[in-house]
């Protein structure tokens, strides 16, 4: 009964399929390896070819490659400031809303509100930037008398942008806490809030940690939403209301005009490489936090 020809054909298909599938998977390894390799080579030329000091790059605030100054401190600090602001505002807010969805929201409320939050993820960052530019910047300008551009505007825009990430991941983290803990605490006479605060949040802490770290990852790589409202002054900002630059916004401002092999181009590559290292560092951190939980 066995149809020998069909079986043979099935086997060839099977082998071919495996080759294709393996190839497609390998594509991921090749892509990231090429990307890292390329950025590592180009991103270190500043130090290997131009013989600039890595300390100058990391710690000098003067960035004027046409005069030989390649200090990226202003951009690094700018990136750190806006990210820290976004996490300080968007983080707790996001976790609170995530807790709300997991523990408090009645089913119908959650099913009405969650799609709304998911829409927030899909809105292009340039639209956030546009809104910041047309709504937030004039608002800040009129209330403070500053130019309106700067860390505050960028920080607020970013807070909003990382919110959905933090909400959905911290909700997931709360949902995996076993019901037995919940029931155990309530049975001992704890109120719902005490149960959340003393039992569930600690139990979900590593998951929430992951949520916050991924929020940071999203914030640090964000480009246009902040480039539009940051003011793009390549200096260390004097305060929340003064214009600033970030690693990403500096790259997008200057990448088109950086001549092949110029000090400017090498500096931009070093910044891109730095961003990549930060992003990968955050991934490793996520893995460590997740492993600690397991």
């Amino acid at each position: 009964m066995t149809n020998v020809r069909a079986a043979g054909k099935a086997h060839r298909t099977e082998r071919l399929a495996l080759i294709v599938l393996r190839g497609a998977s390998g594509f991921f390894i090749v892509s990231i390896a090429l990307l890292i390799g390329y950025l590592a080579v180009e991103g270190t030329k500043l130090f290997t070819v131009d013989h600039k000091s890595i300390f100058e790059f990391l710690f000098s605030p003067t960035f004027a490659p046409d005069q030989g100054h390649i200090g990226a401190l202003a951009f690094i600090l700018g990136s750190l400031f806006v990210t820290a602001f976004a996490i300080a505002v968007g983080g707790p807010f996001g976790v609170a809303v995530g807790v709300f969805f997991a523990e408090l929201a009645p089913k119908r409320v959650a099913s009405a509100m969650k799609p709304a939050i998911e829409v927030l993820v899909g809105i292009p960052s340039v639209v956030y930037g546009w809104l910041g530019l047309t709504l937030l910047v004039p608002l800040i300008r009129n209330t403070t008398g500053s130019t309106g551009f700067g860390l505050l505007a960028a920080g607020i825009v970013l807070s909003l942008m990382i919110l959905p990430t933090v909400v959905s991941l911290s909700e997931d983290a709360m949902r995996v806490v076993p019901d037995s803990l919940r029931e155990g605490s309530l049975a001992l006479g704890a109120t719902r809030w005490e149960t959340i605060w003393r039992v569930l949040l600690p139990a979900a802490s590593s998951g929430i940690g992951v949520a916050v770290i991924l929020g940071i990852a999203r914030a640090i790589g964000e480009t246009l939403a902040i480039q539009l409202v940051l003011g793009n002054a390549p200096v260390i900002p004097a305060g929340l209301l003064s214009p600033a630059s970030a690693l990403t916004s500096e790259i997008v401002m200057d990448m088109g005009g950086a001549a092949q092999g110029s000090l400017l181009q090498h500096s931009l590559f070093s910044m891109a490489f730095l961003l990549l290292l930060i992003a990968m560092g955050l991934i490793v951190l996520v893995k460590l936090v997740a492993r600690k939980a397991a």
Binding site: L16, R141, A259
Partner: protein
């Protein structure tokens, strides 16, 4: 399976096709936003009259123009400055453009000296009352390093004095004007093609901004032609190597269309009474 095959095919085609595609009659230009209006308008006019070329024009800044034409990412690189250190690039000069120093209108200053201008942009003078104007903090708005306008301004006004970076940085001619219009105390620099409009046979400043005279010389077309006003430059379009047939055709079209050049705030070579080396 068939979908995977299709993708493989597509990728193969993608890698093999650039040679085929470059034979297509399309031109791309990028670079100086001071020159952008002229090239853009010329491209629209050319395509309205002829059907043989697709022309895409985009900004980015002079250095973007030079860098990308050198990398062959675009066919034409527009620039306010000379492309030094690029032996392969061929210069086609199109016209001359003047640059205004523009301010928010609420400062009550009409004229500054060159020294005062230097001090303002160096961050030494920080309030308009110090140059005889209203008590308003000065907000310096710069263009990024890729800007040719910035290069011309630094070359002709600042010399060796470093520019203060603590104010805003705006991408392009257009954004500079918007930012100056909306920011009290703002000062910046931009090409005539952005700061002036041609109406009823003569130029007027666009709404919402003011133009400063320098050492009592107004930023006018005539003062540029005679060399009295200091901030001006030749506008260049670069090709990578000698211009090919399509490029020459379009370049000739731009240069021949003196009506557009004049209307958009640029100055024809034939009207110049000095040349660049006289400065």
């Amino acid at each position: 399976m068939s979908r995977t095959a299709l993708a493989a095919l597509l990728l193969g085609a993608a890698l093999a096709a650039p040679a085929v595609a470059s034979a297509d009659t399309s031109l791309t230009a990028a670079g100086s936003t001071a020159l952008l209006p002229l090239v853009k308008a010329s491209a629209e006019a050319y395509q309205n009259q002829h059907n043989d070329l697709k022309i895409s024009v985009t900004g980015g800044g002079s250095r973007v123009g030079i860098t990308q034409v050198a990398a062959k990412a675009v066919d034409l690189g527009m620039s306010d400055i000379l492309a030094k250190g690029y032996p392969d690039l061929v210069d086609h000069r199109v016209c001359v453009v003047g640059f205004s120093v523009l301010t928010h209108p609420g400062i009550n200053v009409k004229n500054v000296s060159k020294k005062q201008l230097q001090d303002i942009f160096a961050g030494k003078i920080t309030n308009w009352k110090d140059v005889g104007g209203a008590d308003v903090k000065i907000v310096v708005i710069n263009r990024p390093r890729s800007s040719g306008t910035r290069a011309v301004f630094t070359q002709t006004i600042m010399g060796d004095v470093p520019v203060s970076e603590t104010g805003l940085t705006e991408d392009a001619t257009g954004t500079v004007i918007t930012a100056v219009r909306t920011t009290p105390g703002a000062i910046s620099y931009a090409a005539f093609s952005g700061t002036k409009k041609f109406e009823g046979g003569h130029y007027t400043t666009v709404e919402g901004i003011a133009e400063l005279s320098i050492d009592n010389v107004a930023p006018s077309e005539e003062n540029v032609q005679t060399g009295k006003y200091p901030i001006w430059s030749y506008e260049h379009i670069y090709t990578n190597g000698v211009a090919n047939k399509d490029e020459s055709r379009f370049l000739a079209f731009i240069q021949s269309n003196s009506a557009i050049i004049h209307q958009l705030g640029y100055i024809l070579f034939r009207d110049m009474k000095v040349n660049e080396t006289d400065r």
